[in-house]
C-alpha cells in the first residue's frame, strides 16, 4: 500500500498533499422491546486527498479507490482554484510507523450468533426487571477500521482502530409518565469489555423505575455537585471546545478572550487533553496529520496555559503542534478535536464537599451536552436534592446551563476521585463530524450559583 500511495502522490503539484484511506467493517445487534430489531454487518471503504496551495485547501473524497492519481489531481486543481494567500502550515517531523490493535478477545472472531445471544441476555434482564418496564433498547456494535495515511513529506502510517460498544436502556412507564434508565459499556481492547454487563443492565432498569416516582427538579440557582461522569461532560462541552484553536486562530476578539495567562478558575483547577494516554477512548499515537499526540495542559492551577492545534492553527498562532487534528471518517478532512479531556483530580473527599450545603443538587451522569462558545447546557440523567449536607430525594429533568467563564470561576472544590466515562455508542460532534470517539473524565466537583433549568 505504501508504494501505491507514494506513487499516487507523485501526481501532486501543490505545496503539500496527503492521502488517507480507510477500510471499515462493522457488525451490530439491536433489540427493541422483546424483539430483535436489526442484525447485520457492513463494510465501508474510501479515502480523502487533501491538497494545500497558497493557504487554500482542495479536498477530494471518494469510495472508489481505483484511480488514486486522478483523485490527487482533482484535489490539487481545487486547491489552486481556492488558494490566493499565504500558506500557514506548522512543521512536523515525517514519521513511518505501523500501529496495531491490541485485542484481548478479538470480536471479529466471535460469531454473530454469540453477539446476538449476549445482547439478548441483557435485553431479557431489563424487560423482566419490573412490571413498570414498558420496553427496552439494547444495542451492541463493533467496528474495526484499518487506516493508511501518506503525505508528500514522506510520512507513512498504518493504524488499526478497533471499537466495541454496548448500550442498555430501559423505558419505564406509568400512565403518561415515561422515564429512561441507561448504562453504556465497551472499549478499544476487545469483546471482553462488553461481557459481564448483567448488573449494569439491571441498574439501568432500576433507575428508570425509580425515576417514575421522582418529581422534576425545581428550576433555580443552586450549589451543584456533579458526579465524575457529568464533570467530564462539563469539561468537554463547556471548556474543551473553547480550547480548539480553529475557533480562535483567525478571530482577534476570541484571542483576547482566550489569552494565555488569564485566570479561569481556582488555584487547584487543572484541565488536560491527552491523546497519548494509555488506553483512553480518544487515544491515538498520531493524529490524522501524522503529528504525534501528547499531554497538553489547557488550564494549570486555574491559569489558561494552552490550546489544541492542527498544523494550520499552530502555524497561524505561532504555537507548537499538539496532535489534535482528527477526522470522524474518510468523507471529512481532519479538524481540531479533543482526545481524552479531563479535570485532573483534586484533594477534596466527597463527604467534605457535600457537608455544609443547605440546599443543592447532586447531578448524575450526562444524557448529552451542547455548547455555543460561552453558553453551554448539559443534561443530567437524574439528580438528588442535597438538604442540610445530606443526599435527599431523587429528582428528574436536571438540566444545567450557564456561561462557561462564570461557571469555571464558580467551581470552588475539586474531588480526589477521578474517573473516566465508559465507552458507548455516540461521541462528540462538530461541523457535521459525528460521532468521534473521545475520552471524558473528571472527579466530583462543586459549582456555586449554578442555574438549573426546569419549571418554577
Amino acid at each position: 500500500m505504501r508504494d501505491r500511495l507514494s506513487e499516487a502522490l507523485k501526481a501532486q503539484d501543490v505545496e503539500y498533499a496527503d492521502i488517507r484511506l480507510e477500510d471499515k467493517t462493522n457488525a451490530w445487534v439491536n433489540f427493541r422491546g422483546p424483539d430483535l430489531d436489526t442484525i447485520g454487518s457492513a463494510r465501508a471503504v474510501g479515502g480523502i486527498v487533501r491538497a494545500l496551495y497558497k493557504g487554500g485547501w482542495g479536498y477530494a473524497t471518494f469510495n472508489d479507490l481505483a484511480d488514486l492519481p486522478k483523485r490527487v489531481r482533482e484535489a490539487c486543481q481545487t486547491a489552486k482554484l481556492i488558494g490566493s494567500d499565504t500558506t500557514y502550515f506548522a512543521p512536523s517531523e515525517p514519521v513511518v510507523d505501523v500501529v496495531k490493535a491490541k485485542l484481548v478477545k478479538d470480536f471479529r472472531q466471535i460469531p454473530l450468533a454469540e453477539k446476538k445471544a449476549l445482547t439478548e441476555e441483557y435485553n431479557k434482564i431489563i424487560l423482566g426487571h419490573h412490571k413498570s418496564i414498558q420496553t427496552s433498547s439494547v444495542r451492541y456494535s463493533d467496528n474495526f477500521k484499518q487506516i493508511w495515511f501518506a503525505s508528500s513529506e514522506g510520512t507513512y502510517i498504518e493504524e488499526e482502530v478497533p471499537d466495541v460498544n454496548l448500550m442498555t436502556a430501559a423505558i419505564a412507564r406509568e400512565g403518561d409518565i415515561v422515564q429512561n434508565g441507561f448504562e453504556t459499556g465497551g472499549g478499544i481492547d476487545g469483546y471482553q469489555s462488553v461481557e459481564g454487563f448483567q448488573d449494569k443492565a439491571r441498574n439501568a432498569a432500576q433507575k428508570a423505575v425509580e425515576l417514575l416516582a421522582a418529581p422534576p427538579v425545581n428550576g433555580g440557582k443552586y450549589t451543584v455537585i456533579t458526579d465524575q461522569l457529568l464533570t467530564g461532560v462539563f469539561t468537554h462541552e463547556a471548556f474543551g471546545h473553547l480550547s480548539e484553536s480553529d475557533f480562535v486562530y483567525e478571530n482577534p476578539r476570541m484571542q483576547e478572550l482566550m489569552q494565555l495567562g488569564k485566570r479561569f478558575g481556582v488555584e487547584g483547577l487543572n484541565i488536560i487533553d491527552d491523546g497519548s494516554l494509555l488506553d483512553g477512548l480518544g487515544t491515538h499515537r498520531y493524529d490524522y496529520e501524522g503529528v504525534p499526540t501528547r499531554k497538553n495542559y489547557l488550564i494549570k492551577d486555574g491559569i489558561l496555559v494552552g490550546r489544541l492545534h492542527s498544523r494550520v492553527t499552530a502555524a497561524k498562532m505561532g504555537e507548537l503542534v499538539t496532535g489534535n487534528a482528527r477526522a470522524v471518517h474518510f468523507q471529512h478532512p481532519p479538524i481540531v478535536r479533543m482526545t481524552n479531556t479531563y479535570i485532573d483530580q483534586g484533594k477534596v473527599a466527597f463527604e467534605d464537599m457535600i457537608k455544609g450545603i443547605k440546599l443543592g443538587v447532586y447531578a448524575h451522569r450526562a444524557i448529552g451536552g451542547e455548547t455555543a462558545m460561552e453558553m453551554f447546557t448539559f443534561s443530567a440523567a437524574y439528580g438528588y436534592m442535597i438538604r442540610d449536607g445530606q443526599i435527599a430525594e431523587l429528582v428528574r429533568d436536571v438540566v444545567l446551563t450557564g456561561n462557561v467563564f462564570e461557571t469555571l470561576m464558580n467551581i470552588d472544590q475539586i474531588g480526589n476521585d477521578l474517573e473516566w466515562q465508559p465507552n458507548g455508542p455516540g461521541g462528540c460532534g462538530k461541523n457535521d463530524q459525528q460521532p468521534l470517539r473521545v475520552g471524558i473524565g473528571g472527579p466530583h466537583i462543586r459549582i456555586q450559583n449554578c442555574v438549573v433549568g426546569g419549571q418554577q
Binding site: 471503504v45 446551563t401 418554577q456
Partner: protein, 432 residues
C-alpha cells in the same frame, strides 16, 4: 443495473431480497473567517441490501460495487440469526410524479459557487465589518436505484442545492452566532434574502435585553418550532407506538392540540428538501396528515413495524423519517402577533434540545438565539435564559398562528418543511 444483479444472486439462497444503491457526486465551497478556505469534490457509492431467509431478516451494506458477493453473503449470514419478518417485499406501485431534478444545476461550477458565497458574505460584512463571516454553497447530484424480488425496479435522479451564510460576533465575553441557509432540489435561490435574514438576526441582537423569570407568552419562529415538533416527531413514530413508549399511542382520533393546528407530512412538494416518490423499502410515498384541526390522525410506519402492528406502511422508509412537514397558515399577520404581546419572548434557536426526555414532551432548553418582546416590539436579545415546558401541553395552548410561512431545512435531518410563526400562551422562562 447492480441492484438487479444483487437481487438475482441473493435469490439463489433467499426467498426475498431488496437492494438499494446510491451514487452521488458533490461539489462544495466553504468560506470561514471572512476567507475562502476550501473546496471539495466528493464521490459516493452506497449499497444496502435486505434478505429474508426462512422467514428471517438479514441486512448488510457496502460502499464497494465490486463487493457484491461479500455484501450478499454477509446479509445471508445475518439472516440466520435475524428477526422474524413481519412483512413481504412490496409489489410495484404507481408512483407519484415528483419534481426532484433540476438540470440547470448540472453546469454550475465552483467559480460561480464561490461568487455566490462571497456575495452573501460581503453583504453581512457590509452591515457590520466586526462580524467574522462564513458561507457555504453545496451542490449534490445523486441517483437512487431500488430493486426487489417481486420484480420492482425504481430509479430516481435527484439534485440538491444548499446555500447558507452566517457569522460570529464577539463583544467582551458575549459571543453571538447567527446563520441562515436554504436547502432545496432546485438552483433558483435568493442569496440576497439569505444574507438579509442573517443581518436581521444580528440587528435584532444589537441590544441585550434583561428579562425576569416567570411565565410568559412565547412566539416560536418557523425554525424555532423544532422545540415543539421534536417531541411530536418522536411520539408519532409507529415503532414507539407499537412498543407502548409513545404518550400519543392511544390518542388517535383525539384532540391533542389546538383546533387551529393542522400538520401534514407532504413528500410531493416541488423541489422540496425531502421530496421523493418512493422510500428505501420500495414503498410509494404519500401525503400523511399528522394533526388535522388539532386531532391526531396518523402514526408513521415502516414495512416491518406496520406488519407487527397490523397496519399499512406509510412510505417513510426503514428508519421512519418524516419528509416535508407542512403546517397550515393561520389568520394573524406576524406583525400583529408581535404587536399584541405586552411581555414575552421570540425564540429561534436553542442549545440542549433533545436532551432530557423528549418523547414525553418535556423540554428544558437554553435559548441560544431569542429576543425579548416588550409592548409589542422586539427590544433585544435575551441571554442565559432557559425555556421549559411540555411540548404537548404547548400545542394545546397555541394562541396564534401567523399567515406568513417560511421554509426550514435542517439543522436536524428530519426537520424540514413549510412553517408559520406560532404563539404559545404561557411557558416557563428562567433567567439568571
Amino acid at each position: 443495473m447492480i441492484v438487479q444483479q444483487i437481487v438475482k444472486i441473493a435469490l439463489q439462497r433467499a426467498q426475498a431480497v431488496q437492494a438499494i444503491m446510491l451514487t452521488q457526486e458533490t461539489s462544495a465551497v466553504d468560506f470561514e473567517n471572512d476567507r475562502l478556505k476550501s473546496a471539495e469534490t466528493s464521490q459516493r457509492t452506497q449499497i444496502d441490501i435486505k434478505v429474508i431467509v426462512d422467514g428471517k431478516v438479514g441486512v448488510s451494506s457496502t460502499t464497494d460495487p465490486q463487493d457484491i458477493e461479500g455484501v450478499v453473503s454477509r446479509a445471508l449470514e445475518a439472516a440466520e440469526f435475524g428477526s422474524q419478518a413481519h412483512f413481504e417485499m412490496p409489489d410495484a406501485q404507481s408512483l407519484e410524479p415528483v419534481k426532484i431534478f433540476d438540470p440547470t444545476l448540472l453546469p454550475l461550477e465552483k467559480p460561480e459557487m464561490i461568487r455566490m458565497g462571497k456575495q452573501m458574505m460581503d453583504m453581512v460584512k457590509t452591515y457590520n465589518p466586526e462580524i467574522l463571516a462564513g458561507a457555504s454553497v453545496n451542490k449534490t447530484v445523486y441517483k437512487v436505484e431500488y430493486a426487489n424480488s417481486r420484480g420492482v425496479d425504481y430509479s430516481a435522479d435527484h439534485t440538491e442545492f444548499n446555500v447558507g451564510t452566517g457569522g460570529q460576533l464577539v463583544r467582551g465575553t458575549d459571543i453571538l452566532f447567527a446563520g441562515h441557509s436554504v436547502g432545496q432540489k432546485k438552483r433558483l435561490v435568493d442569496t440576497e434574502e439569505i444574507a438579509t435574514q442573517v443581518i436581521e438576526y444580528f440587528r435584532m441582537a444589537e441590544q441585550i435585553a434583561p428579562i425576569e423569570s416567570g411565565e410568559m407568552p412565547v412566539i416560536f419562529t418557523p425554525r424555532g418550532l423544532i422545540a415543539l415538533l421534536l417531541s411530536l416527531g418522536l411520539a408519532v413514530d409507529g415503532k414507539s407506538v407499537y412498543l407502548g413508549a409513545s404518550p400519543l399511542g392511544d390518542k388517535l382520533g383525539q384532540q391533542i392540540a389546538s383546533p387551529s393546528l393542522t400538520i401534514l407530512d407532504d413528500p410531493f412538494i416541488e423541489y422540496g428538501p425531502r421530496t421523493s416518490a418512493f422510500d428505501n423499502e420500495g414503498v410509494a410515498r404519500k401525503v400523511t396528515p399528522l394533526i388535522e384541526k388539532g386531532v391526531l390522525r396518523n402514526f408513521i410506519y415502516d414495512l416491518d413495524t406496520a406488519g407487527r402492528a397490523g397496519v399499512k406502511p406509510t412510505g417513510h422508509g426503514s428508519t421512519r423519517n418524516l419528509t416535508n412537514l407542512v403546517i397550515n397558515p393561520g389568520n394573524v399577520p406576524y406583525e400583529t402577533m408581535l404587536r399584541n404581546t405586552t411581555q414575552g419572548l421570540l425564540v429561534n434557536d436553542f442549545l440542549g434540545l433533545g436532551q432530557g426526555n423528549p418523547i414525553n414532551g418535556e423540554f428544558s432548553v437554553n435559548v441560544f438565539l431569542g429576543y425579548k418582546i416588550e409592548n409589542g416590539k422586539l427590544v433585544g436579545r435575551v441571554k442565559d435564559v432557559m425555556l421549559a415546558g411540555n411540548a404537548f401541553d404547548a400545542l394545546k395552548d397555541i394562541t396564534a398562528i401567523s399567515k406568513e410561512r417560511e421554509w426550514v431545512s435542517g439543522p436536524w435531518a428530519w426537520f424540514a418543511g413549510l412553517m408559520p410563526y406560532i404563539q404559545v400562551g404561557k411557558l416557563s422562562v428562567t433567567a439568571k
